[in-house]
Symmetry: C2
Subunit: 344 residues, 2 copies
Amino acid sequence: MFRADKNLAFMLRYENVAWYENEKVKILDRRVYPNEIRYEICNNHQDVSKALKDMVTQSGGPYIAVNMGVVLAVNEAKNFSDDEYIDYVDKAVDTLCHSRPTTVENMKKAVFNCHKKALEMVSDRKNAVEEVLKVAIDEANKKYLRYEKVAKYLYKKIPKNGTIMTQCFGETVVGMLMRLCNENNNRIKVFSAETRPYFQGSRLTASVIQDMGIDVTVITDNMPGYVMKKKGVDLFTSAVDAITMDGHVVNKIGTFQIALCANYWNIPYFATGIPNKEHPTIETIKIEERDGDFVTQAMGIKTAMEGVKGYYPSFDITPPKLVSGIVTDKGIYSPYNLEDYFEE
Amino acid sequence: MFRADKNLAFMLRYENVAWYENEKVKILDRRVYPNEIRYEICNNHQDVSKALKDMVTQSGGPYIAVNMGVVLAVNEAKNFSDDEYIDYVDKAVDTLCHSRPTTVENMKKAVFNCHKKALEMVSDRKNAVEEVLKVAIDEANKKYLRYEKVAKYLYKKIPKNGTIMTQCFGETVVGMLMRLCNENNNRIKVFSAETRPYFQGSRLTASVIQDMGIDVTVITDNMPGYVMKKKGVDLFTSAVDAITMDGHVVNKIGTFQIALCANYWNIPYFATGIPNKEHPTIETIKIEERDGDFVTQAMGIKTAMEGVKGYYPSFDITPPKLVSGIVTDKGIYSPYNLEDYFEE
């Protein structure tokens, strides 16, 4: 079977995202990776839902895990009557999609084809698990191939043996970009900002890049402005949490500062992702704020005196004037002209 | 005896910086503060020198500790012959000044008056410890009073009940500024960037401000750009490691990014410190780089996969166009006109 995760880093291979095997689903625990390689073993779809709720995996991980959860539910219901089977699968999908309140709608989209196939297989229960698993893998492939297209457009902007900077964890796009570098024997250098308070840049991004044999250096979040000049960075890139149709990039806190520094040093900033039609302007975005106490600790160790407050806005806003291009699966668009993405 | 550290935070009071008492010098261990309140107990001046070498105290701390070390040496030599006493004190001063290779010249200046007094007391050994200790305290007072002058000029720029942002640890200036706020019943709010990789902003600055009863909030180093707009910050301020005569501020890594963000949002940036005549231009400055491994850990816990490199430039450069004013003990100067500081 075709696998779009070929030659990607350890943590991007499906077996190490979320995987159905021997009537269980195992999910790599991204909360402790890479200090510890630990899998959450889920014996039923409720366990999968709980793992999602507990943030065992994050970013793109839950969208693979949710389909593996459907495979597990199909296996759980294999000996039920037809009516019971249909009812059980429907309820399991509902449970899985509602694991996290903020991603219910995206989860419903992600699970659609697996859910459909599971219901179709009511009349062929012997092959149901196998067939639904095929769809689950196919869905993961589609997701990965879409981001491979994005990475191909971004790759064209990276000078041969150039130096790029990133922050947080662009996940599949990062993996695909590194795979393209390897395929083209392009020995780039990457600087990854650690991305406090959760260290996605040092824990996840740097691990993926090193795993794929590419030169990667971690810096702290107060360094990008100095380092991009000192080390001759050619390009700054990040994934996005949302792109509003008026060209604002909403992404992990810190993106704005780095984009501003890039602008100061005349270095382009390319954001990768798909414009969000449901957000016509930046005014429709509410920046999520999380528990401030997470800011006064690092890797579980307290960093401030008892009683000192922390403040934790999760995302920030980069205005279109600081964005050189939005890199999509259809090409690179000006942040001032995103309507074009939806034309033709 | 007059004490310039009155009503300052715990860690700025002389007893908690470095202090001679009962034939010992105790030095607050700033490496573990505030998670632990631990003093290094020095039984002789060699212990003081070793504590300085081991960075038990930092920033302004060593300049107080070095004089307490002289007091200790005087006590050690109290029963020596006159010639032995003079020789012992001279050698002790030399040892203390050479504790760290990069601060030898500044240490020599800091220790000058205590050394002089110690030599004068050769003929009055009974009162030598007491008299040299007086000079040591007087030197600390002079240092504190000078920074109180700086703080007074900076204070005038802070709106009543306003909000300021800072990073790293401006030490005495921060303490003096907070004391002025308290004396004037000015209920300001302070945002302190944590300042990776060593967390001086969260461990030290936030502790001092909270100790003095002022509202302080810690943010991570990727947040200043967003937070200064969101929370209506009126002013960004930092201490400096050097100010070149052509108006460049060399300070703890991260200063440049915050100054750039402040400029973007039309918020003034005031740097506190004395221009460095020995650095006519920014070209005379070499930015120190430290062990990159310190960047891939936080509070002693590894943050990246084994083998991932870190890069650790300690300081950065903020150009004069991003500096609103250099706040000195003689007033506020334009970064483009620092010669005036040395006139009259």
